[in-house]
């Protein structure tokens, strides 16, 4: 999202909106005078939620990669594959495309998400090389692409339901599929807990503040 020109936020104008009844109060008001909701310009616990969900997601991601994802049992053998092991096996058989898809969907994207969320969260305190606009883009990508990691879980679910040939062959999900699903869910929660407005708060705070600009009649809200 391109933000053209200078943007004046409600926070800049010393205002805070009640998130329940949307009544705007001056900054520093502790409670909404109308509905009694506690007023925060920025959720003080948002970053904690981000980190908490991020940690749970990461915790789930460890067994998701160590435990078997898929249990394949045929007449003569039974096989358990972890995510990476299955991809490697596919690659060995020449299915480079599928192996890449699995690796990207199951490894690259989740790991990238962890890094991206952690980077965004850390970047709020110490701005890095990336500008706020880039970080906003990164956040949007993370938010958008997070759900596609579930493709692995879907594949396992579909395979498990389709390949049930009794004694001849059967596929059942391993414990990793559950952990992987949990990991994806918690990273999505983590990403959603991230308040992207803070990306811009830094920009507003860090440089010496410009003289107060008359508040526009309407507070322009950043996308949550």
């Amino acid at each position: 999202m391109e933000i053209a020109g200078d943007v004046t936020t409600a926070r800049d104008m010393g205002l805070v909106a009640c998130t329940r009844c949307t009544r705007v109060w001056p900054l520093g008001t502790h409670k909404c005078g109308r509905c009694g909701h506690r007023l925060h310009s920025r959720d003080p616990h948002a970053m904690q939620r981000v980190w908490a969900f991020w940690a749970v997601g990461l915790m789930c991601y460890v067994p998701a990669n160590l435990a078997p994802m898929l249990r394949t049992r045929t007449l003569v053998s039974s096989q358990e594959n972890t995510i990476v092991g299955g991809a490697a096996e596919l690659a060995q058989h020449g299915n480079w495309g599928i192996a890449m898809v699995i690796l990207v969907a199951s490894v690259l994207i989740p790991v990238g998400k962890f890094i991206a969320i952690a980077g965004l969260a850390l970047g709020l305190r110490r701005p890095g090389a990336l500008g706020p606009a880039r970080r906003q883009q990164l956040y949007e990508v993370v938010d958008y692409i997070g759900r596609w990691s579930m493709i692995d879980v879907f594949v396992v679910a579909i395979l498990s339901s389709l390949v049930q040939l009794g004694a001849v062959a059967s596929v059942s999900p391993g414990p990793a599929s559950l952990f992987f699903a949990l990991s994806v869910i918690f990273t999505m929660l983590s990403a959603q807990s991230f308040d992207s407005r803070r990306i811009w708060d830094i920009e507003a705070v860090a440089p010496p503040a410009a003289p107060p600009i008359p508040a526009p009649p309407v507070t322009k809200a950043h996308p949550a």
């Binding site: 109060w25 939620r49 908490a52 940690a55 749970v56 007449l75």
Partner: protein, 688 residues
């Protein structure tokens, strides 16, 4: 800011409570962490110890896949496969279930189950699909976990977890020991033989065996094991016998056992038993323990005879006391004086077979044999089997043996003195017989026989022999001609005329005293008849001679017979041609002529006058007639008997009989005359 300043808001103290500063969402990672830690702790606390098994090779064992099973239930999983120091064994790490860990103590046994196809069947077939697994067996007493175990290369005997008595079997030298073979008792598989291995002494094969409970109660110190693998075929006095226990045993081998005598004691686990090649050997072993140390003796035989082999019997008084354990040639010029190769047989003698004290060992047996040798006991080679020509060593007493006892100082074994062999060499004798048959002049004999046949056929084909029947027939014809001659035929006529003259003479006797003369004439007639009889009696003699000749002819060679026969016929011919024979009728007619002459003289003498005087004497003479007739009849009967004797002698005899019958007829005429005279003496006088 143009907006009216907002109302003053209550300012909270800068210091917020921990609860307010920390988001509630941290509960989730905390819970996750707690759960993770809990699970980790649980899995760690519930996981069993790591078992380290070492194997010769780890073929088919894969970490994370190969299971450890106990009674076919998975109790562990292979976690890693590595090498021991020095790379000589494969170490297999197995994560064991915590519950069974205390049972995996010192007696635990592990082996790898692989598919096996043997003569006794297919085992471990499930491993073909599921992959191999490690099987473990241990007892039911938890004696503490021991982490390191040495894996067995083959399944142990009690692989099924069955308890039983473990014994050790040592195969007798000629008995086979088949690995993994079943132990069968009356057709039931009650045990199993383990892996066979060389015994410590390197000369016999031993194997562990197990007899499962409760059959192990049958094992006692009197039990004997023997091999029933394969089949035995024997031909004995009772016929041929094929013997095999079961088809499986036939193919894969098997042993059985039996407690053949009572009084055995219970055996400890690990007791050593001998496996005998067959039941007979097993039973025989009761009377002599073949395990005892054998006494080794060397016997050097002068003659180097083929047929003695290792394992040949050593007999003493017909009792097998040992066997030949080795055969060597020996050349010792210093000892024997020449450089001939001699046969040095090493005899392994079982001291227990000698009937010595049961505890007697080799030294006692040597002492005993030494004494016997001083008394004349010697070793010799003897024929063990006439058919095969196999030899055995026989210890025999030689009455005139001299010398000392056993040379105990000889190396390597004490030397047993020997004596001459007693070998019935059937093959040599048979060869001799065949050689003699070969040397027989068969061709010459056949030629002679052929020549003899030719001679015989020539002889029988000769004219002389063919003429013999003709000659005989001619002889008979002559004899018939003799009887049928006119002179003979005329004899009755003459007699009748003579009687007629007698009538006239008697008529004249009525007047003349002619009775006395008549009586004398009758005597003469009787004499004449008797001479005829004598003459006829000569004929049987002839026949007897003929018979004798014929008997001789039978015994004689044909040509000789023929010549004698012709001689005989000639002589017979001559005999018949003799004047005496020819004179026979003439003599008879002469006698009658004489009679007639006498009568005529009587008539001419004119003695009628004396008839009256002589009537009385005639009457008395007539009284004598019956006796006279009796005599005549006796004569005739004799003649008849004589003649009837010739009935058997057909041919000549018949002809003679005909002759004699005519003579008898003549005599009967005389008898009729005499009867007429007796009936009516007057007719003699009156001529009627």
């Amino acid at each position: 800011m143009t907006d009216p300043s907002p109302p003053t808001t209550p300012i909270l103290p800068a210091r917020k409570s921990l609860l307010e500063r920390v988001s509630i969402v941290w509960v989730i990672p905390a819970a996750a962490l707690a759960i993770a830690l809990g699970v980790a702790w649980h899995s760690y606390s519930s996981r069993g110890p790591l078992l380290e098994l070492s194997f010769e090779n780890a073929s088919g064992i894969r970490a994370g896949e190969t299971e450890l099973r106990y009674r076919d239930v998975t109790v562990g999983l292979v976690e890693g496969v590595s090498f021991s120091d020095g790379l000589d064994r494969v170490l297999v790490s197995v994560r064991l279930d915590k519950k069974v860990a205390p049972y995996v103590d010192g007696d635990a046994t592990f082996w790898v189950v692989r598919p096996q196809v043997s003569a006794r069947g297919v085992t471990g077939l499930d491993t073909v699909l599921s992959g191999i697994f490690i099987q473990g067996i241990w007892n039911d007493k938890p004696d503490g976990f021991i982490a390191r175990h040495k894996g067995e290369e083959a399944a142990p005997l009690n692989r099924d977890g069955r308890q039983g008595l473990r014994v050790r079997l040592r195969a007798a030298p000629n008995a086979g020991l088949t690995e993994e073979a079943p132990i069968v008792f009356r057709g039931i598989e009650v045990g199993r033989i383990g892996t066979a291995e060389l015994a410590g002494d390197g000369t016999s094969v031993e194997a562990d065996a197990i007899i499962f409970a409760p059959h192990d109660k049958m094992i006692s110190s009197a039990t004997r094991f023997w091999d029933i693998s394969g089949f035995s075929f024997s031909i004995g006095p009772t016929g041929a016998k094929v013997d095999f226990s079961s088809l499986a045993a036939l193919v894969s081998g098997g042993i059985t056992f039996q407690t053949v005598v009572s009084g055995g004691q219970a055996v400890e686990p690990g007791a050593l038993f001998v496996l005998y090649p067959d039941e007979g050997a097993a039973r025989a072993s009761l009377f002599g323990d073949t395990n005892a140390e054998a006494l080794n003796l060397t016997a050097i035989f002068q003659d180097n005879v083929a047929g003695l082999a290792v394992d040949s019997a050593v007999d003493l008084g017909g009792l097998r006391i040992g066997r030949v354990s080795a055969l060597n040639g020996i050349v010792d010029e210093a000892r024997f004086g020449d450089r001939r190769v001699r046969l040095a047989a090493t005899l392994a003698i079982q001291p227990s077979k000698l009937g010595l004290d049961p505890d007697a060992g080799a030294p006692e047996a040597l002492d005993y044999l030494d004494r016997r040798v001083q008394e004349g006991l010697r070793a010799r080679l003897a024929t063990a089997s006439l058919l095969t020509g196999g030899l055995k060593v026989e210890l025999v007493d030689t009455p005139n043996a001299t010398g000392t006892g056993i040379n105990r100082s000889a190396e390597p074994n004490p030397v047993l003195p020997t004596t001459e062999s007693d070998i019935a060499d059937v093959s040599a004798s048979a060869e001799g017989v065949f050689a003699r048959i070969n040397a027989l002049p068969v061709e010459e004999v056949l030629e002679s026989a052929i020549a003899m046949m030719d001679n015989i056929s020539r002889l029988t084909g000769s004219d002389d022999i063919r003429a013999v029947p003709g000659d005989v027939r001619a002889l008979l014809g002559q004899a018939q001609g003799l009887v049928g001659s006119d002179e003979m035929q005329a004899l009755p006529g003459r007699i009748s005329s003579a009687v007629g003259e007698i009538e006239t003479l008697v008529a004249r006797l009525e007047t003349e005293d002619t009775i006395a003369r008549l009586s004398g004439a009758l005597d003469t007639a009787t004499a004449a008849a008797q001479s005829v009889d004598a003459a006829v009696a000569g004929v049987p003699d002839l026949v007897a001679r003929l018979q004798g000749v014929a008997a001789q002819a039978e015994a004689l060679p044909l040509d000789d017979l023929a010549s004698r026969l012709s001689n005989l016929l000639d002589s017979a011919d001559r005999l018949i041609d003799t004047d005496a024979a020819r004179a026979l009728p003439a003599d008879l007619s002469g006698a009658l002529d004489e009679l007639r002459q006498v009568l005529r003289q009587a008539r001419e003498a004119g003695l009628i006058d004396n008839a009256n005087a002589t009537m009385a004497s005639a009457r008395s003479a007539a009284d004598d007639l019956p006796a006279l007739l009796q005599r005549a009849q006796t004569v005739l009967t004799e003649a008849a008997r004589t003649i009837s004797g010739y009935d058997a002698n057909q041919g000549v005899g018949r002809d003679l009989e005909a002759t004699l019958r005519e003579v008898r007829r003549a005599a009967e005429a005389v008898a009729a005359l005499a009867r007429a005279v007796e009936r009516n003496p007057n007719s003699l006088l009156f001529g009627r």
